[in-house]
Symmetry: C2
Subunit: 256 residues, 2 copies
């Protein structure tokens, strides 16, 4: 593969750089424990508080995380088709969260709901993400190219220690991936031709969007993204410029 012309790397983030599922599950369980405990402490009305505690204890947080994540492309597609006006991922995540809670007859005070919605700002990186990015950025600039909004990506980078050179987001272009405006917009801001930019993602559909926009593509499968044995998007060997096991392997393949 003639990847010698690569001058910058842009990364999908949710699932590619950070493990959204484990973090949402862990924070959901901690939230449920707090809600159960505070229901029990309310005391006076024993039966009602027991019902609240039971409702929270019965949530399947893996299913909740998967449902939260599954709602996000559907919501984005409504924005992409023009059915909804532009809304940030923070706003879309919150709409989905409110529906999921209501569907389970769970209630959170506004501040608790706003804080839980920001779990997406606190996602843990995959173990190779930070050391891999540090190696990759010695070779080339590394930037996000995510549907997450800028403030979310910035907070996540500070929380997780992700050493981005720049934060590029669908929010800058008013278009969600896989719309070509995102990929081409990132190349334009980098002052590079699309073919000088390598898109790194765990999702073949994202990489196909990048390739249609003229970018080069690196597929980094994350088999644990949807849990052990979870589903993965199908792909065809040879359809991407590069396939790497993780970011350290990617750095090695790029000569770093």
């Amino acid at each position: 593969m003639a990847l010698s012309g690569i001058r910058a790397l842009v990364f999908d983030v949710f699932g590619t750089v950070v493990d959204w599922r484990s973090t949402v599950i862990a924070e959901g369980r901690a939230l449920a424990a707090r809600q159960g405990a505070s229901g029990a402490q309310a005391g006076a009305c024993g039966e009602a508080s027991a019902r609240v505690a039971q409702a929270w204890s019965q949530v399947d947080w893996a299913a909740f995380a998967d449902a939260w994540r599954a709602g996000y492309p559907l919501a984005m597609d409504r924005v992409r088709r023009g059915e909804w006006p532009w809304a940030s991922i923070d706003v879309l995540h919150r709409r989905i969260l409110d529906e999921l809670l209501a569907g389970r007859a769970l209630a959170l005070a506004e501040q608790e709901a706003a804080d839980f919605n920001r779990v997406w700002h606190r996602l843990a990186p995959w173990p190779d993400s930070v050391p891999g990015l540090l190696r990759l950025k010695r070779l080339h600039p590394v930037a996000t190219l995510s549907n997450g909004n800028v403030s979310l990506l910035l907070a996540m980078a500070r929380h997780a220690g992700l050493p981005w050179d720049a934060i590029f987001s669908a929010e800058l272009f008013g278009h969600y991936k896989p719309d070509p405006q995102c990929y081409q917009g990132a190349a334009r801001l980098l002052d590079l031709a699309p073919a000088q930019v390598l898109m790194v993602a765990a999702h073949p559909s994202d990489l196909r969007g990048a390739a249609r926009a003229g970018l080069r593509t690196a597929y980094v499968p994350r088999p644990l993204e949807r849990g052990p044995g979870g589903p993965m998007e199908p792909w065809t060997p040879g359809e991407f410029d590069l396939v790497a096991c993780d970011f350290i392997d990617l750095a090695r393949q790029l000569g770093g």
Copy 2:
């Protein structure tokens, strides 16, 4: 000063974070030495090469740097008034450079001119800039808010080790500072109210633009920006929320 509500800092870059003048002078002198030497080496036509070497040796690089910098707000104003279509600072810098060279009967090959134009990507930080930013970013996110284009700011950050959390540029908003769209656009991308954002600059006119857009302001004078004893914009004590000697003093005043 009630600065407890500050949640992020945005920085002017040229002059505030980096010392454009010293770097342009140093690179100009090195370029002149190379051009003089290559003229001398050409050999065959002794008189012509001596004239080239003399023309390069006579350039006053401090005046050249000042003229290059002085051309930039004039060029930006033509964009701001709509007389020129949007053009990046790289493009504006190049137009000014070509005029300055022509005015001195100096010629550069295209690649040399393009490389010298990128001196603005290689500017040296003031001595306190990197340690100060590292302290400030422990308190709050730190981002550029510069008229420089994104690729220039990104290259400069990698060259100088500037630890930005995000790179915001006039290029993202299609408006140059001090247009309010720049300042308000940065606050919007940070998902903050303008009053939660502190603009840091060595230029009172920039800070006044920020204040008109609702941001808080920190003035960090850089008395050496235009050389020892060089001119500085006038300002009135009390007109900014904060005045600091350098970025380390700024961090101290903000409690870091």
